[in-house]
């Protein structure tokens, strides 16, 4: 059902009456410069988003801005982080829209979404649980263990998101190639246009 929706997004939405008219998704993917600008902005926004969130996390770990209260770092830096995140989400959604089926059947994209979800859950846990008693340790050079654990999870999750995001460009596990069974299953290759070829079924 989800894949049917993505097929419609990729091939039908915005398509003109002519046989060779492009859908909006195809037009975006085939644009001369716009796709490159979107992709470049998505990568460059890392400087704003990941760069600032890393420094906030380093404060929570007690290794940077130790004399600055956590509340000051949050109030002054997190608006920048949120702006960077919005930029990344906007460009990321547009990039996905340009090639929805390619990303849908991509192992690294799926892993990226898993760690993105983990990072977002970690933010919720931090806001609703960890920092409830922040006034007790706001000015502490080394915040308590729960805050440091949350910062560690945050850094690791965003590093994973960046890593898997970069790996999307590589065809190591592209559907249609002879792949281990688990990789075909994890990417739902059997339903992809290129199909699934199990490595185990290949003649040795």
């Amino acid at each position: 059902m989800l894949r049917d929706f993505l097929v419609w997004l990729a091939t039908r939405l915005g398509k003109g009456p002519g046989e060779y008219d492009l859908s909006w998704s195809e037009a975006l993917a085939g644009s001369l410069n716009f796709w490159g600008l979107l992709e470049g902005t998505h990568v460059l926004a890392l400087m704003l988003f990941a760069g600032t969130i890393f420094l906030v996390d380093l404060r929570l770990l007690g290794v940077a801005f130790k004399k600055t209260p956590v509340s000051v770092i949050s109030d002054r830096v997190l608006p920048l982080t949120v702006a960077g995140f919005l930029l990344m989400v906007l460009t990321g959604v547009a990039l996905f829209y340009a090639k929805p089926l390619v990303y849908y059947h991509n192992l690294w994209f799926r892993l990226k979404l898993v760690f993105l979800a983990l990072a977002l859950i970690n933010i919720l846990v931090f806001h609703w649980r960890v920092q409830r008693n922040r006034h007790d340790w706001d000015a502490a050079p080394r915040p308590p263990a729960p805050a440091r654990i949350s910062a560690t999870v945050s850094i690791l999750a965003w590093v994973a998101v960046i890593t898997f995001g970069r790996f999307i460009a590589y065809d190591w596990y592209e559907c249609g190639k002879p792949l281990p069974r688990w990789a075909n299953a994890a990417q739902e290759c059997a339903t992809s246009d290129r199909g699934a070829i199990d490595l185990e079924d290949m003649p040795q």
Partner: protein, 276 residues
């Protein structure tokens, strides 16, 4: 006329051709993607450090702390990010040398990197350590850094298929100005920006057909100049009207804009190596 490294250093072509077959290029090649990730993480780290440092000099962000205190705290992460970018850049460059050798975007990137290092280590960090005051050496480094930055922008701007990447620099500048302006200046600036975006969209989608590249190219270049002028004008108004931030006067603030945007140009040129 091409501005790729091969046009300036034709004699090293045979040596460049061997780089991906010898250490360290051959050693890195099978793990190119993994080294690319380290390159990206380094860019993110130095980006965060540069943003906090330069925004503080401009008068935004961590204004509860002095510029010197912000500099002291971001310094190790700036060092780590810059060292990471250079080391991983050298390694992935060695495994992909022939591609870079023929790339004009790579020339722009190298000029940007040189200017970024000069403007960060010769101007922004020393000025922040003096709470915004530019020393005599800082002024000299500023002249050198701005000259190299301008040269990098020129190469980026005249390189065919690569120059759309300059929109990243304009967009970043537009965002920085949006962050740091206040009150009526911000409202007027944003209104003008939205109007420009609307006019550009109408011109490049309705007035000029989207497939008429012969007319779209000069139109988009003209819009790039208009956007740049609008953003620069708003930045000048912000720098002049916001008063001193700590000890940072108008010159330091202007240089902080440059020290921030030069990293964006460097990263953008790096990304556009892959597109052209």
């Amino acid at each position: 006329m091409s501005l790729a490294p091969q046009d300036f250093f034709p004699a090293i072509a045979p040596w460049v051709a061997t780089l991906d077959d010898t250490f360290p290029g051959a050693w890195v090649k099978p793990y190119f993607a993994q080294w690319e990730v380290l390159h990206l993480l380094s860019i993110a780290l130095l980006g965060g450090a540069s943003i906090l440092l330069n925004l503080r000099l401009i008068g935004y962000g961590l204004t509860d702390e002095t510029p010197a205190e912000v500099e002291r705290n971001v310094r190790p992460w700036m060092h780590l990010g810059v060292a990471g970018v250079i080391v991983t850049g050298l390694l992935i460059g060695a495994s992909n040398a022939e591609r870079l050798y023929t790339s004009e975007a790579f020339t722009a990137k190298m000029l940007g990197l040189a200017a970024a290092i000069v403007l960060t280590y010769g101007v922004a960090m020393p000025a922040a350590r003096r709470d915004g005051a530019l020393g005599g050496a800082g002024r000299l480094w500023a002249l050198a850094g701005l000259a190299i930055f301008a040269l990098g922008l020129l190469v980026f701007g005249v390189s065919k298929l690569v120059n759309p990447g300059l929109w990243h620099v304009i967009t970043a500048a537009a965002l920085v100005v949006l962050f740091v302006t206040r009150g009526l200046t911000r409202i007027l600036y944003l209104t003008g920006l939205v109007a420009l975006i609307a006019v550009q969209w109408v011109m490049t989608h309705l007035v000029i057909p989207p497939d008429d590249f012969a007319r779209l190219d000069p139109a988009n270049k003209a819009f790039a100049w208009v956007f740049a002028a609008w953003v620069l004008g708003a930045a000048v108004v912000q720098v002049v009207t916001a008063g001193r931030s700590g000890g940072a006067g108008a010159a330091t603030k202007g240089l902080a804009y440059a020290a921030l945007l030069v990293w964006v140009m460097t990263a953008a040129a790096g990304r556009w190596i892959a597109f052209a």
